[in-house]
Structure formats: C-alpha cells, structure tokens
C-alpha cells in the first residue's frame, strides 16, 4: 500500500498543476478553436460549420495590425534589453546593501494602475504639454523631430509625439521594462565575484571579463527576459489605444473590438493566429539561442 502510494505520490503532487492547465488553458483553447470555425450571429446563435475561411479573412483584413504588433514587440523588447541590462548590471554589482531597496524603487511605479500611468504619459506628451514645450524652450525640438522623421517613428509632416509609433513603442517599453530587468538581475546576481577575480588573475581586462564571463552567464536571464517581455508586448492593446492613433493600432485592439461587437468567430481566429505566430517565434528563438539552462530559467 505504502509502496503504491510512493509510486503515485509524484503524479498526485503534479495533479493540481495538470488540472489547472486543463481547466484554464486546454479547455478554453479548444473552445476558442471551435468557435473560430463557427458561423452565425448573436441573435440566431453560432453553429459549427467548419468555416475555415474565417482565418483567411482575418489574415487578409488585419495582417497589417498583426505584423505591426510583432514588430512593436520586437523593437520594444530590444529596447527593453538595451535599457534593462545596464540597470540590472548596476544593481547586481554595485547595489551593495541597497539592492533590495533599489529593486523596490524599480517596482514602485508599478503599484499604480498601468492605465493611469499610460494616461499620465498622454498628458505629458501632448502637443502643448511639458515635454514638447521643454524641447522647444531648449531649441532641440527641430533636431529631435528631424531624427524621429528620419527613423520613421513620427510621420513626416507631424510635430507631435502622441498618436505616433514613438509614443506607442515608448509606452510599451515603459510598461514592460521590469519584466526584462528582473530575470536579467537574477542571473547576474548569481555570478560570483570570485569569477571576476579569477578572470582578472588570468589577465582578462574589464571588457573581456564582461564578454567572456559575465555576459555568457547572464544569457539565460536575457533569454527569459526577452520571452517575458516580447509575448505580452505583442499582445498588449491598452497602450496603443491610449497613446496611439489610426496608424498604430495593434491586433489586441482589433480582437477586443470584434469580441465586443459579438463577432466571436473572427475574434477567436485572430487570437489563434496571434498565438500561433508567437509560439512559432518563441520556439525558433528557443531553438536558436536556448540552452537547457536558459529554458529552466525561463520556466522559473
């Protein structure tokens, strides 16, 4: 009896996780898949007709927004890593006894609802708001907008920040930065200072110590940070709705709108397309860069 229990124990222990996954992931996903091929309307109900061309319609009508979401996701994630890595590095190696305080400060703004924070950005960035006024005052607005026009972040004719790619990507970076910083910080925190000393003993200068020792050891953290940032950023819809305009709509907004006008099949199909693309992206990324360690880190 006790032997049997011993054999069953691991399965029993993992059972809640399986149930969780089944109830909150598998069942909804199957339902959504099923809805996506139904036809009908809210009044008469929706019937399963295996109408797969909904997927083709969804792609034809909204590939612009889907591709845009993936590009925003990519750009925002790269920026998050570029900004987040030095921050994590500094806290991990120079934070000293203030490390936890610094991490707390990093998270502090996130105690305020992110909708409110995004609305606050809208106020700061408005045409006659403090940011643009300050730039005008310092006579750097010409150079700033010239550069932004050059990289295509602001449309050619416009002297505005809100309702541009710049505002949306900026908002996304701001909102998701901690998701990048925290995993990178955790991996850097694990790098023992004695390794750096060894590197120095072996005539490694600061640059080689970083590139040969610290950076490789922190890659699992970067990997995890990228995953944790890219997926929610590509699926986000609030930021683009508040800071964006007609040319910056993301696919999340479309899904929300279709769902709210009771067009469940196309909303489900769009969700599926997005999910499939994200999964393909994540798996190829994992295949290219992921080590077992990196996967563990990402899972943790």
């Amino acid at each position: 009896m006790s032997r049997l229990r011993g054999k069953l124990a691991p399965y029993l222990m993992v059972l809640p996780a399986w149930l969780w996954l089944a109830i909150f992931f598998v069942v909804p996903t199957v339902t959504m898949l099923s809805v996506s091929t139904m036809t009908g309307n809210d009044l008469d109900g929706f019937k399963q007709t295996f109408h797969f061309s909904t997927y083709a319609d969804a792609w034809n009508d909204y590939h612009t927004q889907i591709v845009r979401s993936l590009i925003y996701g990519l750009v925002a994630t790269v920026l998050c890593v570029l900004i987040g890595y030095p921050v994590a590095y500094w806290i991990a190696f120079y934070g000293g006894r203030h490390k936890s305080t610094l991490l707390f400060l990093l998270l502090l703004p996130f105690f305020v609802s992110f909708v409110i924070r995004t609305l606050a950005w809208e106020t700061l960035l408005q045409d006659e708001g403090v940011v643009i006024k300050a730039m005008k005052h310092l006579h750097i607005d010409g150079a700033f907008f010239g550069f932004m026009h050059f990289i295509g972040a602001v449309p050619e004719h416009a002297h505005q920040i809100t309702q541009t790619h710049l505002a949306v990507v900026g908002g996304l970076v701001y909102n998701f930065l901690p998701f990048t910083i925290l995993p990178i910080y955790v991996s850097l925190e694990r790098v023992s200072p004695s390794l750096l000393e060894s590197s120095a003993d072996l005539y490694g200068n600061k640059v080689t110590s970083f590139t040969k020792v610290v950076l490789p050891l922190s890659m699992p953290g970067v990997f995890a940070g990228v995953l944790l940032t890219f997926v929610p950023v590509a699926a986000d819809y609030v930021t683009a709705q508040i800071l964006g305009g007609p040319g910056t709509t993301m696919v999340g907004t479309i899904i929300d709108q279709r769902f709210n006008s009771q067009e469940y099949p196309i909303a489900s199909a769009l969700s599926f397309i997005l999910m499939a693309l994200l999964l393909i992206g994540v798996f190829s990324y994992a295949k290219a860069l992921g080590t077992e360690e990196a996967m563990e880190m990402a899972a943790a």
Partner: protein, 421 residues
Amino acid sequence: MSERPDLPLDLLRGLALPRMSRRRFLQAGGLTVAGATLAACSLPGTPRSNLGLQGAREEIAKYWAAQTQHGQLNFANWPLYMDVDADDESKHPSLDEFTKKTGIKVKYDEVINDTDEFYNKIAPVLRQKQSLEWDLMVLTNGMSLNDLMIRDYLVPLDQARMSNFYANASTLAANPSYDRGNVYTMAWQSGITGIAYDIKRVGHEITSWEDLQDPKLRGKIGMFGDNEDLPGCALAAIGVNPEQSTPEDWKKAADWLIKQKPLVRKYYAQDYVDPLLRGDIWATMGWSGDVLANQGDNPNLRFVVPKEGAILWTDNMCIPAAARNPLDAMIYMDYVYNPDVAATLADYIWYITPVPAVQGIFVQEAKDADNEDDKAYYQDLSTNPLMFPKEADFAKLHRYRVLSEEERPVWNALFQPIYSG
C-alpha cells in the same frame, strides 16, 4: 396625447422570467460551462416568442397587475447625468425629493460609460434569465438598445402609468422611430453629435462637415471610433439621412471617411474632450452637452450642427427583464416627466430635455430672479439652441441607422476598418 401603440409581436419572453435561487443559479452555471466546453459545437442564440399581438397585450397587463411597490429603486445611469447638491456631490436633491414624495428609496449608481460596453456586460446575465442588480437603466438608442428590445431583454412599459409622459413629452420623446409607441423606453435626455471646435486655434468658423476635410487641419482633427456616430455623421456629410440609407450610400460615406483618414489624429472613444481642451486636436466630432459644460474652461469652444446635418441621439430609461422592482421604476420614469422635476434635471445636465415646458419654467425663473447673475443664467439657458433646438434645427438632425442581422456584416466590413487602424 400621443396615439396608443401597436405592440410588436415578439416581446414577451422577458416578462415572466422566474427568479433563480442561488443554488439553481450555480447549477445552471455549471451546466452551461460543461455544455459549452464539452460539446463546443454551438453558441446558443435567443429563442423568440410566438405570442400574437392580443396575447402580448394580455400578458403585459397580467404582468403589471401582479406587481407591487417595494419602496426600493436601483438606478443605473451615466456620470454627470443627475443633479447634485451644491455642498455635497454625493447627494442628489431631486432623488431625495422623489423618496420624500413616494416613499421609494433610490440606490443611484453611475455605472454606464458606453451603451455597447454596458450591453455586453448585461446581455449574458439577461440571457441566463437572471435579474440584474438594477431596475432602471439609461441607454442610448442604437443597435444595442435595439438588440435589447428584439431579444425581449426589456420589460414592456405599463402604458396606464405614463400620464405625465403623455401629457408633457416633446414630439422628440414621444413615439420615437427606434421604439414606436414607447413600448419599452422613455427618453431621459437627448443630445446632438456634431462638430466641436476651438475657434481660436482653427482660426475661422466651422459650418460644414467638409471643414473636417481641410488639409490645413491635418493631424488636428478628431473623429469618433464607433460604429454608429462615425458612420452616421459621414452619411449626414454626404447628404443622406442615415435611417433611409442604402448600402450604396454606406460605400460613399466610407469613401468620404477614407479620404479624410490621413488628416485624422485619432478616432476617439469618448476621451476627446481633454485633447480638445489642451490643443492636441482643434476640431472634432463632439457631443453638444460636452461643449456647453466645458465652455467655462475654454471660452473659445464652439459646437455646430453642420449645414449638411448631424445626429440626434436619445438616452432612454428602460426596465431590464426580470427586474426586481419594476413598479418602482415605472413610477420614477413617469415622475421625471413632471415639468418641475424635468426643469431641475435640465438645469444641471444641459442636454436636450424631453419636456418642452421646461423652457417656460426657465423663462419664469429669469423673470423671478432676485439677482442679475441668476437672471442672465436662466435667460441664457432658456434661449440656448443646444438645449432647446428650433424646429428648423430638428429638420437637419437624423437618427442612427438600425441594421438587420444580414446588413450588419456589410456595414461592419465598410466602417470598422476605418477606425480600427
């Protein structure tokens, strides 16, 4: 007095919804989840009643005969849509007065920000034949309200308890095209969707929808990102009455909007007032009352009914199916059609009141005023064309197009891509 209505045939299913015990509610919920996920082969629609006209009348009479007054009314409304005490914003004098007169206590919730959004919140509950927490709600005419009516999610009103309404309602409020015979609804307030603009920033007066096609305003134009006001105004702009519009007209209106799109800063939900006040946008689709309410902050703000026409909408009081206190709601609905009550509300809300006698009351208030400020204020109100539009103005105002299930996909495919990016 308006003519008594002919009842629509399919309106009864919602009347006699049984109230569910908590246990049955849970059972039903469990069944739905199990059914939907395991079978996953269809989503149910709404069954329609097959009672005839006479049967419907009898059922309605029977329903109302069985109701008693409970002394409680739970009221769902929009923000800033009820008078407040000058000293205490949480107090609503007209509601307190109502309680004093009738003994009915009112729980007043400002929970509605958008009719479609609210519809999506309540429809699943009503579909399950459960009671909402409200007995009375205020919803804009349009597709969602129409959906509520054709799905029998509203209680048909007791025409015998509408004496104030039939004595005092304006031609606008009585027998509207979206609810012939006021079977389900009584107007709360109406308003106009036209053009709101800052005359100083724009630099000239705006008179036409074509002014919103002016390349000089590029990046400074706002439009509404919705499926009714935006297409409705575009149809008005090309000189078509939306209610009589055909799919060919829709195509033309969509083309008008597509041509305009490069100039548009953003398709706003209802958050257009702040950007307008602070100068991100200079001219935008807007609501009449919003402009009146914000002219204090920005005296350069103007509202215009463009010469091609604009949209007139009405927010309506209605009783959700399976409401717990329908008689209390019915009493309140007729109560606000008392001209003095209507005047108290109009004095605060500044949209179009459904009771024309209010204008006379304001004129009288101006005469009786004991100081110049009050006098000027009431004179201003009583002559304000946005609160008391003239007959000639009404001729230019159109109602929303109500779409059949077959027309919806066509309409959506034309207009949704414009504002959704």
